[in-house]
């Protein structure tokens, strides 16, 4: 029958001593890149090297929100393509990624925020992405649980409503991509740690893993929060990345209450309801760089305080589970996708902070193109590493941010 149990991403295979490409990190970006390398570029001799199990890191810890309402013209088209890919991938992978196209509502709590929302909305509309500025009353019609009274800490002035966004079941994406990659011949090696990358004459020659040495001309590091550390440790390249803990949590499951993803910058808080009924919430990062995924007492309390204000009915609901993940933040809150520069055959896809999930499908597609051809696709060019050297930050954030003690 159609649910006959067989290994979803192939049976366990021997680690070969040669691969056409090695991808370090079995998260969403690595899996997606492997999938597209194999499917669209005929490079099927690919090994994914994953220290734990696929989806261990950010892929399994994010709250699954997808959207294409970023601030700059470099980001919007990339995320738009990622959004458009969910239904396509569902079909291609024959795996239900459970895209809930419920739309995102981004609350604005001041005149200044309304102004910046208007710019973001204009940017979206300019690129053919639907997004609208609505007032508090309209927001309340979309989300009846919203508190639009004046006597809360940050009264709601309005919202940015972005109908094309929503929620995708993040674990399904991991497993679906793994299934698709394996089907095209990719080897997924779990519980295998990459310990060194080898170069000769400025070219990649191989990777050493806990299960042996691999010869390969191409390596991609897409290890989420661990990327910057690995890249420095293995190749000595220092990236302008600070790694911070970000936490998220869910309440006990409820019958349908929120029909949209709702978020608030001022409260540092978002809330959306999973298909299972839990209210998933989180948002701000801990303010100090660290590589642990430990939780902090103030975080869950802050979240409760914020939600008590703007979704007060949730006061009668219980938190069930909180967890932490890593966000690798760049100074301009835009990722670094680069390669073949400085070391031939070395590619990196990192600095995604907390946006790695929503971009993974499109990034996999373009990184695969990059790795197959050796030439950077136009879509990825603005995300090069050298922009920092040239003091040309991307502008994805308007506000000054400082994640490292250095600036």
């Amino acid at each position: 029958m159609f649910w006959k149990s067989k290994p979803l991403w192939g049976s366990k295979t021997r680690l070969k001593s040669n691969y056409d490409a090695v991808i370090i990190g079995g998260g969403l970006h690595g899996l997606a890149t492997a999938y597209y390398l194999a499917k669209e570029h005929g490079i099927t001799d690919v090994a994914i090297i994953e220290k734990r199990f696929i989806g261990f890191g950010g892929a399994g810890r994010n709250t699954a929100i997808v959207r294409a309402n970023q601030r700059t013209q470099y980001n919007v088209p990339l995320y738009k393509e990622a959004l458009d890919l969910w239904p396509v991938l569902t079909k291609e992978l024959d795996y239900n990624l459970m895209f809930n196209n419920c739309g995102n509502l981004n609350l604005m709590h001041s005149e200044a925020a309304m102004k910046s929302a208007r710019m973001t909305i204009a940017t979206a509309q300019f690129h053919g992405v639907e997004s609208h500025l609505i007032d508090a009353k309209q927001a309340k019609e979309l989300v009846p649980a919203l508190n639009i009274s004046e006597d809360i800490t940050f009264p709601i002035h309005g919202a940015m409503f972005h109908p094309p966004g929503g929620i995708v079941r993040h674990d399904a994406v991991v497993w679906g991509l793994a299934k698709g990659a394996a089907k095209h011949g990719v080897h997924i090696h779990q519980h295998t740690e990459a310990t060194a990358i080898h170069t000769e004459g400025g070219k990649i020659t191989g990777v050493t893993t806990s299960r042996g040495r691999i010869h390969t001309p191409r390596v991609l590091i897409s290890a989420g929060g661990y990327s910057a550390g690995l890249i420095y440790q293995m190749l000595g390249i220092k990236l302008p990345i600070a790694v911070l803990t970000i936490q998220a949590m869910v309440t006990q499951p409820l019958k349908p209450l929120l029909d949209h993803v709702v978020s608030s910058g001022a409260y540092h808080c978002y809330a959306n309801q999973t298909l299972k009924g839990e209210i998933a919430t989180g948002a701000h990062m801990d303010q100090w760089p660290n590589y642990t995924t430990q939780n902090t007492a103030h975080y869950i309390k802050h979240q409760a305080e914020a939600l008590s204000d703007w979704l007060p009915c949730l006061r009668g609901v219980k938190f069930m589970r909180i967890w932490g993940g890593l966000a690798d933040m760049t100074p301009d809150m835009a990722p670094i996708m680069d390669g073949n520069d400085h070391i031939e055959g070395f590619y990196m896809d990192c600095g995604w902070g907390y946006f790695g999930f929503k971009s993974c499908s499109a990034v996999g597609k373009y990184m695969a193109q990059f790795m197959a051809s050796g030439n950077c696709p136009d879509m990825l060019k603005p995300f090069n590493l050298r922009r920092y050297e040239n003091h040309q930050l991307m502008g994805e954030t308007a506000e000054l941010v400082s994640y490292t003690p250095n600036n």
């Binding site: 079909k91 007492a297 009668g316 219980k318």
Partner: protein, 971 residues
């Protein structure tokens, strides 16, 4: 149901009746009942239906390990009625049922389980694509157990408490109480947390005796009395520990009793060391239909009788794997329960005294046997027992099946504190292999079961914890170690994972309806790590916080895969007990700063906004365009509360060097009594702050920063001079000083009435600084500045006097018609003058040159190593950077909205601020545009949101728009 009213172990007051409304009917309980026990007393057996299959669910444990008894209480969903104390008048409803829990017409789904193997939803409902949105709606409706209405208002008082102690003891059983008493001998402050409403733990309901012959319940009450009489032990009962964080920060919440002023209370405890004496829950026994109403864990059945006076059935079968099960059988038999059979999984190792007691009572005992299947629809009617190997079967009638495979230590606190967990092959427990610093295990969770050993391990842990917290306990620790070592140690645990069943209806997780078969399916699909199986099958992700599958899942995976020798547990996550948002939120403080003039701004009709950390008056009328406020400043005189401005004094021999480091201008040229406007950049040359520096005297400066930067400025200056060893002092005066801004052509006249100094432009010119004393008492720093483009004075006054000075000025200005203006009016006034506000006319990547403030930058002070100077030099010739320009609409009646884009075929910039200027009659503003478009006269195409393709047009014009020569502010 008749209560056993005379038992000495009762925790109810049978005479004190309470009532609750259940499905529209009033039923009676008694004080001390939980909601579930009260319902049980009234014959309720099916409390809920399961999430997926709508299987009937009954009382299984009494500690909330599963959602079996989750109900809607007073409109609050998912209340675990089994450990929620009954209060008079509660309204209790069933959840997730069509009809009632007893007759749920969705029960047929249980027959369709073959359609729903592990992860079936990932493989179905997406072909054709149009099916999914429809299916999704149905999934959403079917999922989510409880209902909360969008306008629900949670009632009650939610308190918070922040406690400091030397030692925290988690768990108020015999071990925890012993630990608290031992630690208290040091004189240190000890906090004791107990999740039940009373101390006692597993001693509380047991009549078996200590070696000295004291019944355990009596021993527990003795210990509790000692605890209560010990002044330095602070006991929190009905308090669940929920979080453990770095440095032994413990969080918990307490449920308020009838006499407490709070409904629930969030408690955060900072202590030096922690004793974990959380005891054990039971490891569920997995067999077919192992969650039928009538199947109950040992402790649940035992406590129902002993604590609540309710004999849980009339005819019982026991299927157990530890001595507590045998002890319960003996005791419940004595209380009147008929027992048809006791099946013990263990072939040997039983306590001989208990075996003798069972024999005396003629209770048949089958060793090496286990329950294989519970029969009956909504209630257990019969049970099939089988040998552990599944070779022989026997059936027994019963209406109560007491089932338990063994014990599971409650190790959550260790896991939250980052302990590594490992499988202990003696006990079969997952125990910490590395205990976190200053955290000590005690009692049953270590594997001991002997009552004296439990107390001894508690005492030892308490003494160790006190020592770790700095007390000198002399040789007490050594003595306690010796005492504990002389008593029975950890006992061998029962290793059986499941009864000999195929597992189609054997539930490993009740909350998510996950069966053994589902787990096998997941493993076959490649999900061979418990953590992945948890994600794939949802086992352990329900309201029971993994209480049911937490121990069995890794054991089963290890057994089934056979490839892994050591089982690996899944991660336990906080909160260990589900906690209301209301409780976490506590008082929900609103934390904003108020200026010294706050109250008077309210009185004057200010409309406030939260801006950064401050609350500020943004408008002074309903006209948010602020026409009157603006014109009054332009033509007359206005007064503004500017107290949020960052204010600092820096002095000392190296003060100037520090200023040269962080400011782009050359501050060495500044003369005493003069003001310099300048900016600070970061290493990218991007502007992070602007403000003025006043040279008070040699080596002594006063400076202001934008409101937003006030908090970071001291750190910023310190950070960027950290390697220099310079001698200077830096003081943040932001909150110590209020600021009054008085602006407009008549501002000088108003000021002249209040002070007695020469205000002429010769004596007090633009960019000048004066100090004076008002009324012989109030020291005032006065600056002549022009942010809004008029004659303008900024008075810096000690905070406590600010209101007095404000009142003097208001009084003096009355004859001129002085009136308040707010932040928005100021915003428009300064926009007309093209004075930037950082964050409004700049973004993160905007550097000094982009803003047109390059004239502030002194390139010659190379020695100063000015922050950002290197980057400014490098970026100087970059093409395409966004530059700040003045723009004017082609149609003066149609200002573009803030945030509108400047476009051609790409985005080329955006409108930062634009208004219809009352002062000039033009639609003017400032925009950040690519440098190629920055020349005066360039025509700009503007794309506004919702423009439907209709573009607006503007031209780049010279700045500023108002009084370009600055005559008004300088004359």
């Amino acid at each position: 149901m008749n209560r056993l009213n005379q038992l000495p172990t009762l925790r109810i007051t049978p005479s004190e009746k309470l009532s609750l409304n259940y499905r529209g009917k009033t039923v009676q309980g008694v004080a001390g009942d939980t909601v579930a026990t009260a319902l049980y007393a009234n014959g309720v057996r099916v409390f809920a239906r399961s999430l997926k299959y709508h299987r009937p669910r009954g009382l299984y444990s009494l500690d909330g390990e599963c959602s079996n008894t989750c109900m809607d209480v007073n409109g609050v969903p998912n209340v675990r009625t089994e450990n929620t104390l009954l209060k008079d008048g509660m309204v209790v409803k069933e959840q997730n049922v069509k009809g009632s829990a007893d007759r749920d017409w969705l029960a047929f789904i249980d027959k369709l389980d073959w359609m729903m193997p592990a992860g079936f939803y990932y493989k179905t409902m997406h072909k054709p694509a149009a099916v999914w949105p429809v299916a999704m709606k149905q999934i959403r409706k079917a999922a989510g157990i409880g209902v909360i209405s969008a306008d629900y208002q949670m009632r009650g008082q939610y308190d918070e408490m922040f406690v400091k102690a030397e030692v925290t003891v988690i768990g108020g059983g015999a071990a925890g109480m012993s630990a608290a008493l031992a630690a208290a001998e040091s004189g240190q402050r000890v906090v004791l947390l107990e999740s039940r409403p009373h101390l006692g733990g597993c001693f509380d309901y047991r009549v078996s005796t200590t070696a000295e012959g004291t019944p355990l319940y009596q021993r527990a009450r003795e210990l509790a009395k000692q605890v209560e009489q010990t002044g330095n032990i602070r006991t929190f009962k009905h308090t669940s520990m929920v979080g453990a964080y770095n440095n032994n920060l413990i969080t918990a919440f307490q449920v308020g009793g009838a006499t407490d002023a709070f409904t629930e209370r969030y408690i955060e405890i900072r202590s030096d060391s922690v004793v974990v004496a959380t005891g054990c829950i039971e490891r569920p026994l997995i067999f077919d239909h192992n969650e039928r109403p009538g199947v109950m864990q040992v402790g649940c059945a035992h406590r129902m009788a002993r604590t609540y006076g309710l004999l849980p059935g009339s005819e019982a079968v026991f299927s157990v794997g530890h001595d507590l099960g045998l002890e319960a059988a003996v005791d419940l038999f004595d209380l009147g329960l008929k027992i048809n059979c006791v099946a013990d999984i263990r072939e040997d190792g039983q306590n001989p005294e208990l075996m003798l007691a069972l024999a005396e009572r003629k209770i048949p005992v089958l060793k090496g046997w286990v329950a294989a299947k519970a029969h009956g629809g909504k209630k257990v009617e019969k049970v099939t027992l089988s040998t552990v190997e599944g070779t022989v079967n026997r059936q027994f009638p019963c209406d109560l099946l007491v089932a338990s495979a063994g014990l599971t230590p409650v190790t959550g606190p260790f896991i939250l504190a980052q302990a590594k967990m490992g499988y202990d092959s003696l006990t079969g427990y997952f125990l910490p292999t590395t205990v976190p610093e200053k955290m000590f295990p005690a009692g049953r969770l270590t594997g001991v079961n002997d009552p004296a050993a439990i107390e001894a391990s508690g005492r030892l842990a308490g003494l160790k914890a006190a020592t770790a917290a700095g007390a000198d306990m002399g040789n007490l620790v050594a003595a306690a170690e010796k005492a504990a070592a002389s008593l029975p140690g950890p006992q061998r645990g029962c290793k059986l994972v499941t009864a000999p069943v195929k597992g189609r209806k054997s539930f490993i997780c009740f909350d998510e309806d996950t069966t053994i078969k589902n787990i096998k399916q997941a493993i076959e699909m490649g999900f061979d790590v418990p953590e992945l199986i948890k994600r794939f099958t949802s086992a352990g992700t329900g309201p029971g916080q993994g209480g049911i599958p937490g121990h069995n899942l890794p054991l089963f995976v290890a057994k089934y895969t056979a490839s892994i020798n050591t089982p690996v547990p899944t991660t336990v996550r906080p909160p260990l007990v589900p906690t209301f948002l209301a409780t976490y939120a506590g008082y929900n403080h609103h934390m904003f700063k108020h200026t010294p003039l706050h109250d008077s701004q309210i009185k004057d009709g200010g409309i406030f906004r939260n801006i950064g950390v401050w609350q500020r008056a943004r408008y002074f009328s309903d006209d948010f365009d602020c026409k009157e406020e603006i014109l009054n400043v332009r033509n007359n005189v206005g007064i503004l509360d500017g107290s949020t401005l960052g204010k600092f004094r820096i002095h000392g021999p190296d003060a100037l060097k520090a200023l040269q480091r962080v400011y782009v201008s050359d501050m060495s040229k500044l003369k005493p009594g003069r003001i310099k406007y300048s900016a600070m950049c970061n290493d990218d040359g991007c502007v992070i702050d602007d403000g003025v520096v006043v040279k008070l005297r040699e080596n002594d400066y006063y400076l202001t920063t934008s409101s937003a930067r006030a908090g970071q400025t001291v750190e910023w200056i310190r950070y960027h001079t950290r390697f220099d060893g310079w001698d200077f002092s830096l003081v943040n005066l932001t909150d110590a000083m209020g600021v009054i801004n008085i602006s407009g052509p008549n501002s000088g006249k108003v000021l002249a009435k209040v002070i007695d100094i020469d205000l002429s432009s010769e004596a007090f010119p633009f960019s000048g600084y004066q100090e004076f004393t008002l009324k012989d008492a109030i020291f005032v720093r006065a600056m002549r500045l022009g942010f809004v483009g008029e004659l303008s004075y900024e008075l810096h006054v000690p905070a406590s006097y600010t209101q007095a000075v404000w009142d003097m000025l208001k009084e003096a200005g009355a004859e001129f018609g002085i009136r308040n203006f707010g932040v928005e009016a100021q915003n428009v006034l300064r926009m007309e003058k093209c004075h930037v506000i950082l964050g409004s006319e700049s973004e993160q990547r905007t550097n000094l040159l982009d803003l047109g403030l390059g004239f502030l930058w002194d390139r010659k002070k190379a020695d100063a190593k000015t922050v950002g100077a290197v980057a400014l030099r490098q970026a100087e010739k970059d093409v395409g950077r966004l530059k700040l320009v003045g723009i004017r609409m082609e149609d003066d009646n149609r200002p573009a909205r803030d945030g509108a884009l400047i476009v051609d075929n790409k985005v080329r910039g955006y409108v930062a601020t634009m208004r219809k200027s009352f002062s000039t009659g033009q639609a003017v503003g400032m925009a950040l545009v690519e440098s190629q478009l920055a020349d005066t006269g360039t025509r700009l195409e503007i794309f506004e949101d919702e423009c439907n393709g209709v573009r607006l047009y503007a031209r780049v014009v010279a700045m500023p728009f108002y009084d370009p020569k600055g005559e008004r502010m300088k004359s």
